[in-house]
């Protein structure tokens, strides 16, 4: 097994609120290999965006704080770096694409100037060379007439084009890891497919690893090698993409998969998961999913299961899966 590019272990993130300190992410661990795409799936508020921000150490502090764990990039613990060393990692070794392409670019500068800035920050090149690189990367992400578009302002571009520009900006310094936080959520379906194709192609060309944060299982199926399912600040299931879709082990994952419409299955009404995510201040004692779980047993309400290996490619945080029980609803 090759050395992991990224190793996150027992990451814990807490927030100070008026009603005391809450733990938004509790003991999340995962690893990412060179050239691999890892998806993090979960509904709003499950801690996936916070996790991705903490990898860059960009968590708004206060109120947020990384209260425990390690984040290792190439064996170097990012949590121990000074702010100056961390700035060198940001945009250089790790880049990020945000959900909102409409607001991710500064409206008062031209596209070209913003990409130039990212280049000049991390590479010792002249302004002229930076602009040449900018044009080249814009061409690479499929922007037509890159010389002219570089002189345009963000409001002159469509959402899909802006997201391409964001991708260009993120990849221009050839990062080892690209964090994409819901990169396609704000786009039309057809544009979504184009952007995903683009990311996939660039990943294969550059060997960049991608951490894809999404709540769209369709995106996961298309893009990811492995998937992490998060619920209420914890990883509830980790598996290869095929294994997850073929044989989900956690009832929450099952619920998520059931709530996707299928082309070949006729249903009047899509099933949904009853109830809602528990508030961070009132976490249940047992399994965090137990109150909503259709197959919960008595033990589930008393003790929170650990994330354990159930098959070679599969980890789940569920008593039933551990006991070889049937998670299917």
């Amino acid at each position: 097994m090759t050395q992991n590019l990224l190793n996150v272990s027992e990451l814990e993130i807490s927030f100070k609120t008026e009603s005391g300190t809450v733990t938004a992410v509790a003991g999340v661990s995962f690893a990412l290999q060179q050239g691999e795409t890892l998806g993090i799936v979960g509904e709003s508020g499950c801690g996936k965006s916070v996790t991705s921000l903490s990898l860059m150490r960009l968590l708004p502090n206060p109120p947020g704080r990384i209260s425990g764990g390690r984040i290792e990039l190439n064996g170097r613990n990012l949590l121990e770096l000074s702010e100056r060393e961390m700035r060198d990692v940001r945009g250089n070794a790790i880049s990020m694409i945000f959900q909102e392409p409409m607001t991710s670019l500064n409206p008062v500068f031209t596209i070209g100037r913003q990409i130039d800035e990212a280049i000049l920050l991390h590479k010792s090149v002249s302004k002229r060379e930076a602009r040449a690189l900018t044009i080249e990367i814009l061409k690479k992400v499929g922007i037509p007439r890159p010389e002219q578009i570089a002189k345009d302002y963000p409001h002159q571009l469509s959402g899909g084009m802006r997201q391409r520009v964001m991708i260009a900006m993120a990849l221009v310094c050839e990062p080892q890891l690209l964090i994409a936080d819901e990169p396609t959520t704000a786009l039309d379906v057809t544009i979504q497919a184009q952007i995903l194709d683009l990311m996939d192609r660039l990943k294969r060309e550059t060997g960049t690893s991608i951490l894809l944060i999404t709540h769209d299982l369709g995106v996961v199926a298309e893009m990811c090698d492995r998937v992490l399912v998060m619920y209420a600040g914890q990883v509830v299931e980790e598996a290869s993409a095929e294994a997850l879709f073929a044989e989900p082990k956690h009832p929450y994952t099952v619920g998520l998969l059931n709530s996707i419409p299928h082309a070949d299955r006729k249903a009047d009404r899509l099933p949904s998961i009853a109830g809602s995510v528990p508030s961070l201040t009132e976490m249940p004692n047992g399994c965090r999913f137990a109150p909503r779980c259709p197959v919960a047993i008595a033990k589930c309400h008393q003790q929170n299961p650990a994330l354990v290996q159930v098959t070679e490619q599969h980890k789940a945080r569920c008593w039933l899966a551990q006991e070889g029980g049937e998670a299917r609803v």
Binding site: M56, L58, P62, R87, D88, V89, R90, G91, N92, S95, M96, F98, Q99, E100, T103, S104, L105, N106, P107, V108, F109, E117, A118, L121, H122, K139, G142, I143, P144, R145, I149, D152, Y153, H155, Q156, L157, S158, G160, M161, R164, M166, M169, Q194, R201, R204, E205
Partner: protein, 298 residues
């Protein structure tokens, strides 16, 4: 394995013709406002007079002429003469430089300091922000003119001190508006994206937040110049600013006050000059605000 590049976004080609840069858009929206254009003309004329006023003034503004005391406006003395026989037109002309210099220096000084504290307080937040804002509250607690008088009382009368006094009470206003803008801007994704590319705080503030606050600052700056000139004139009127025989409008107004019933022109022309100048800057500020307002669309 490489795929052929499929050019996308051809829609932007057709859009190209109608969309233009923020600067051109601003010019177009500004030119549409007739009053704003007039105000711009007035301000431009004032700036011109500030530059060439002393050179074109027909008489020495401080030279008394006891043969022509308190003359009414005539072909020789367009605005008449004052109690020392000095040509009021020349004095008003020369006063333009003084009033505008005081107004511009104090407001630019105040704006610079205000922007620094506003940007840093808004960006860093926390205790520093609290401290800056409470300091502003203290300054806000005093009426502007009273604060200026207090500062003059400490520093002593004179034009340079008037500049300082007016600057000091402009500072909290700029701090507040710039901080407000900064708070709104810093939560935008592009600021987060800038941090994600590894920019340091200083660069984010200077390159990304500062340009975003310019439009509001510009509007207030223009409007403040009018009121700064008014306050400076008021201080001179009260004898705390320019000292005689300096041809400062407020001081001229003050000395003309005694002859209001017998020779109203002595006080009227400097008064009109103050009025036109303040009005010019305020209307220009209004027009700038309308032209720069992001909420209004064409």
């Amino acid at each position: 394995m490489s795929q052929t590049q499929v050019p996308v976004g051809t829609a932007s080609v057709s859009k190209k013709a109608s969309v233009d840069s923020p600067w051109r858009r601003f010019i177009r929206r500004f030119r549409r406002q007739r009053l704003g254009m007039v105000a711009l003309g007035v301000v431009a004329l004032l700036l011109l007079l500030m530059a060439i006023g002393p050179a074109i003034s027909p008489f020495d503004p401080t030279e008394p002429d006891y043969d022509a005391v308190m003359e009414v406006p005539s072909a020789k003395h367009w605005f008449g003469t004052d109690d020392f026989g000095r040509d009021i037109f020349s004095r008003v002309l020369n006063g333009t430089r003084i009033s505008l210099a005081v107004g511009l220096c104090s407001v630019f000084g105040g704006a610079l300091i205000g922007m620094f504290f506003g940007l840093t307080a808004g960006y860093y937040g926390g205790k520093y922000d609290g401290l800056v804002m409470r300091a502003c509250d203290v300054l806000f607690a005093f009426p502007g003119i009273l604060l200026a008088i207090a500062i003059i009382a400490i520093l002593g009368p004179g034009l340079p001190n008037v500049v300082i006094a007016v600057a000091v009470f402009s500072v909290p206003i700029f701090i507040r508006i710039v901080r407000g803008e900064t708070l709104a801007l810093k939560n935008k994704t592009y600021i987060e994206a800038a941090r994600a590319t590894g920019l340091r705080d200083r660069e984010i503030i200077w390159r990304h937040l500062f340009p975003g606050t310019i439009s509001v600052v510009l509007v207030y700056l223009t409007m403040r110049i009018g009121s700064a000139i008014l306050i400076a004139a008021s201080l001179s009127f009260l004898g705390m600013g320019a000292q005689p025989p300096t041809p400062e409008w407020g001081a001229m107004l003050s000395s003309g006050r005694d002859y209001l019933t017998t020779a109203p022109h002595v006080a009227m022309f400097p008064g009109l000059a103050i009025l036109v100048t303040c009005l010019g800057f305020n209307l220009l500020g209004d027009a700038l605000r309308d032209a720069l307002d992001r909420k209004l669309t064409d």
